[in-house]
């Protein structure tokens, strides 16, 4: 089962590394990358300062595996990667990184969108928004 979790924010160097690793695959013509970044949302005058992520890790890995298999069935892809943060990610930090590669560009946008939506709805990850005043509320996906 491929690992998907990283502790804390996903560093831009990690993303650069993933990109560089694909440059030896000469059948790839198009990459599409989605990054979710923690936004300083305001709720009733309180500002989000971080999101704290927890997960049912074993089930999440199984689900991510199923999603990968389904994506390869559904789209013409060369490879795909899903990464998600656990623990604390401060505003401005990247908490989800989805990376799709294919011979041609046609399907990569749709594949990325589909994958991000699958991760949000099917993978047991739980985000808690921490406000600057240290109050918190459970994140609700829209």
């Amino acid at each position: 089962m491929k690992k998907i979790f990283l502790e804390g924010a996903i560093p831009s160097e990690f993303i650069a590394d993933s990109i560089a690793k694909h440059q030896s695959k000469h059948s790839i013509g198009a990459h599409n990358i989605f990054l979710g970044q923690v936004r300083a949302d305001e709720v009733d005058g309180k500002k989000v300062s971080a999101i704290e992520f927890t997960a049912y890790e074993e089930m999440a890995l199984e689900k991510a595996h199923e999603i990968r298999e389904a994506a390869f069935e559904k789209f013409d892809l060369t490879c795909l990667h899903i990464y998600h943060s656990l623990g604390n990610v401060a505003v401005g930090g990247v908490c989800i990184f989805v990376f799709v590669s294919a011979p041609r560009r046609k399907q990569v946008y749709e594949a990325t969108e589909w994958l991000v939506n699958q991760v949000k709805t099917e993978v047991p990850i739980f985000g808690k928004e921490i406000f600057e005043n240290e109050e918190s509320q459970w994140k609700v996906n829209s």
């Binding site: 979710g36 992520f53 927890t54 997960a55 049912y56 074993e58 089930m59 199984e62 998600h84 908490c95 989800i96 991000v116 991760v119 949000k120 709805t121 099917e122 993978v123 047991p124 990850i125 739980f126 985000g127 808690k128 459970w138 994140k139 609700v140 996906n141």
Partner: protein
């Protein structure tokens, strides 16, 4: 004995992340409602997974020794 796991706002309500429960021959639905009343989960929204699979039809399910039951509030990754 089964392993029960709680996540997110459910773990906040139960004040624990996991526990072992002796279920004997009780039907699954009865176990679920005992846990729900013990921790007053009635107002919370959650799904239940058994051995990492979401369960939609509780009536057909009979737990076995060592099963893992998880209480999962709405997913909010990403």
């Amino acid at each position: 004995m089964i392993q029960v796991k709680y996540f997110g706002m459910i773990a906040e309500a139960t004040s624990k992340e996991e526990e072992k429960i002796d279920v004997g021959e009780k039907p699954f639905s009865e176990i679920l409602s005992e846990i729900s009343s013990k921790y007053q989960l009635g107002d919370l929204s959650y799904q239940v997974a058994v051995n990492k699979k979401l369960v939609s039809d509780f009536s057909k399910l009979q737990l076995e020794e060592g099963d893992e039951v998880a209480f999962l509030p709405p997913f909010s990754g990403g």
